[in-house]
């Protein structure tokens, strides 16, 4: 028989169980507090470092485990099943690790990757500005040559881990056109750099989101990430190959949780003398959620596997996975919420949080519309 193996390799199964147990033990008790305050529990960072979640895609020589993107997807899914907000913080952290791994000099890797793995601080990649996130060339933050480096001026918004990042990667304009962007590592404490307010979100509550401000902020030349003019490539590769699969994996976790909640509620809620799971309308909704979950899993795992194989076509597969999984999460959580009837609107039931979280995942890491542009170009070009 010709073989096509859909089973995870054993190390990925161990990662899955570890992440699942970690989520239950360390993350679940924090969810209610995160919903209430909107604050990220910093006490979680050393715990995530200890179990190795922070260094999943970082080479072993820099303190990571180098387990790759399939393992990362599965870990984010398990964390996201319990808290999409914690998974979001983690996935954006991985984005910075991937950016430094892909574009950093040996000295930059030595300096920042071990610290990111140890959880000295969380990571982020700051692209989006008040002008928008999709229109990269429309950004207004500038970096102009100054003595020994660059002077940055401008601001970023909607930045995950804004207040927890110790040395965020920041994209700024150094010229015009697609070669007019550059990436910088800006260390916390650099004069002229300060995080702004904490932004309040309807979903992913507890994932730190905020602004970053740069006012004549002097960044030394050695903190240029990649060559000058490579910022657009760096941003697109990092968003496309780390950010999108990260959001897709979070959507998988939300889908898992939506199915869990829908099944649990429909089997325990009695109507007309029997559980509502006996009603065909409910069964159809459960089947729809399952279809959304399983199709998303196939797309996400395959895209991550392509990345681990070093395949160039992984970015398109990741866009497809992200678009499908986040839209599926919105559909599925709405169905799960409707299965709950009036209870679905009540804050005691987690299903409403899942719906809010799913809605936020749609625009993060590239909107559905951007995804459609990428996908249509892949066949029309």
């Amino acid at each position: 028989m010709l073989d096509m193996n859909f089973d995870f390799p054993n190390p990925v199964r161990i990662v899955q169980r570890t992440a699942r147990d970690f989520a239950r033990q360390a993350v679940a008790p924090l969810v209610a507090g995160m919903e209430e305050t909107g604050r990220f529990p910093k006490s979680l960072v050393p715990k995530m470092a200890e179990v190795g979640l922070l260094g999943l895609v970082t080479p072993r020589r820099y303190g990571g485990s180098e387990l790759g993107f399939l393992a990362r997807t599965v870990a984010l899914q398990e964390i996201g099943r319990v808290s999409a907000a914690v998974a979001c913080a983690l996935q954006v952290h991985h984005m910075q690790a991937a950016a430094i791994q892909d574009w950093g000099t040996p000295a930059q890797k030595e300096k920042y990757l071990p610290r990111l793995c140890r959880g000295e601080f969380l990571g982020t990649v700051a692209v989006t500005e008040p002008t928008g996130g999709s229109d990269l060339l429309g950004m207004a933050t500038t970096a102009v040559p100054a003595a020994g480096g660059y002077a940055l001026n401008g601001s970023k918004c909607f930045i995950t881990n804004a207040h927890l990042a110790g040395a965020p990667v920041v994209i700024a304009k150094t010229g015009e056109g697609s070669r007019g962007l550059s990436a910088f590592i800006v260390e916390k404490g650099t004069r002229g750099f300060a995080p702004g307010r904490e932004e309040r979100k309807m979903g992913l509550r507890g994932a730190d989101t905020g602004e970053l401000f740069f006012k004549n902020c002097r960044v030394p030349e050695q903190n240029l990430l990649g060559d000058e003019g490579e910022g657009m490539k760096a941003a697109l590769k990092t968003i496309g190959e780390a950010g999108r699969p990260g959001m897709a994996a979070i959507a998988l976790g939300i889908l898992d949780a939506a199915l869990d909640e829908a099944v649990k509620f429909s089997k325990s809620r009695n109507l007309y003398g029997k559980p509502i799971s006996n009603i065909q309308a409910i069964q159809w909704s459960i089947a729809d959620i399952l279809v959304d979950l399983e199709t998303s899993k196939l797309l996400c795992y395959r895209a991550s596997w392509l990345k681990d194989q070093g395949r160039e076509d992984c970015a398109t597969a990741m866009t497809l996975a992200k678009l499908h999984a986040t839209e599926a999460a919105c559909r599925a959580t709405r169905k799960a919420l409707e299965i709950h009837g009036g209870c679905g609107a009540m804050l005691e039931f987690p299903v409403q949080r899942l719906w809010r979280d799913a809605m936020v995942c749609v625009s993060a890491g590239g909107t559905t519309e951007i995804g459609k542009i990428v996908l249509s170009r892949s066949v029309l070009a």
Binding site: N10, I14, G52
Partner: protein, 279 residues
């Protein structure tokens, strides 16, 4: 000149079992009356995780190396990989079609041969019992075959030179026991909290080779292992029929109480009316 103490060698025995969180999916094969293990993924027996953690803790405190062993089908490499991820240094898989159908004694015999093949050792650590068979016999039988003391249901361990001290759980309390090394200890699930296998441990385990040893490699004859070497024969597996008879009494509270009293007297659970001790 000081004598250098040789580094301590720990051996952990573990068993792959069907994931206990999915026991509801387990079925018996109607013909062989054995568990259909393929229906549910195998995991490291939860009780054995406590043995791994105890060994890792001893290694942290006193140095040394940990080898882990299992006698199982080839798929059990996965559970050995997990033990390596949790901190074991090497792993050996005892696998051979001839091992199939082994009872606890034949299993202990294969493990004893593997322990001898590994050479010098100081302490063997086991779980107290497996989540599937739950006999709790393999550890003590292994100790017996090796001619070493065994301490079961250990709640805490102390190593002092060549002496092992353990506080062991009993039905109604604990006992402080001491034994000379080499020894075997089985860990009570209350002894520790096994940590999650860290990601670096998982990727580190990938680089380690796991040798497979057959009965011949262990110097065991076919008659000593598997079903042939097992004095136990399973004749039947069945669920005992629940023998309770329910009866619902009808009437007012007083009437029901009177009926109940009468029935209990009739069954001689309470003394008859007017008898000694009644009011």
């Amino acid at each position: 000149m000081t004598m250098k103490t040789p580094s301590r060698r720990y051996i952990v025995c573990l068993k792959p079992v069907p994931d206990p969180s999915r026991f509801d999916k387990l079925r018996l094969d109607p013909e062989t009356m054995l568990l259909r293990r393929g229906d549910v993924p195998q995991v490291v027996n939860p009780g054995d995780r406590h043995a791994i953690e105890a060994a890792v803790d001893l290694k942290k405190r006193f140095g040394g190396t940990i080898a882990c062993l299992t006698m199982a089908p080839p798929d059990a490499r996965e559970q050995l990989e997990e033990a390596l991820a949790m901190g074991c240094d090497r792993a050996c898989l005892l696998t051979d079609r001839a091992f199939a159908g082994a009872d606890t004694l034949a299993t202990a015999r294969a493990l004893a041969a593997a322990v001898r093949k590994l050479g010098r050792f100081d302490l063997i650590l086991c779980g107290c019992y497996s989540a599937d068979g739950s006999t709790g016999q393999v550890g003590p039988q292994l100790a017996e075959l090796l001619g070493i003391p065994d301490l079961t249901h250990a709640l805490s361990l102390r190593l002092q030179g060549r002496r092992l001290q353990a506080r062991c759980g009993l039905q109604d309390g604990t006992a402080a026991l001491e034994a000379g090394l080499p020894a075997l200890v089985s860990l009570d699930p209350r002894a520790n909290v096994p940590p999650l296998p860290p990601m670096r441990g998982i990727s580190g385990a990938l680089a380690k080779k796991i040798p497979a040893w057959s009965a011949a490699d262990l110097g065991l004859a076919p008659a000593e292992v598997g079903l042939a070497g097992s004095p136990t024969r399973m004749l039947n597996v069945f669920t005992p029929a629940a023998g309770r008879k329910g009866e619902i009494l009808q009437g007012s509270a007083n009437e029901v109480a009177a009926q109940l009293l009468e029935k209990l007297r009739g069954e001689k659970i309470l003394p008859a009316r007017g008898g000694k001790g009644s009011s």
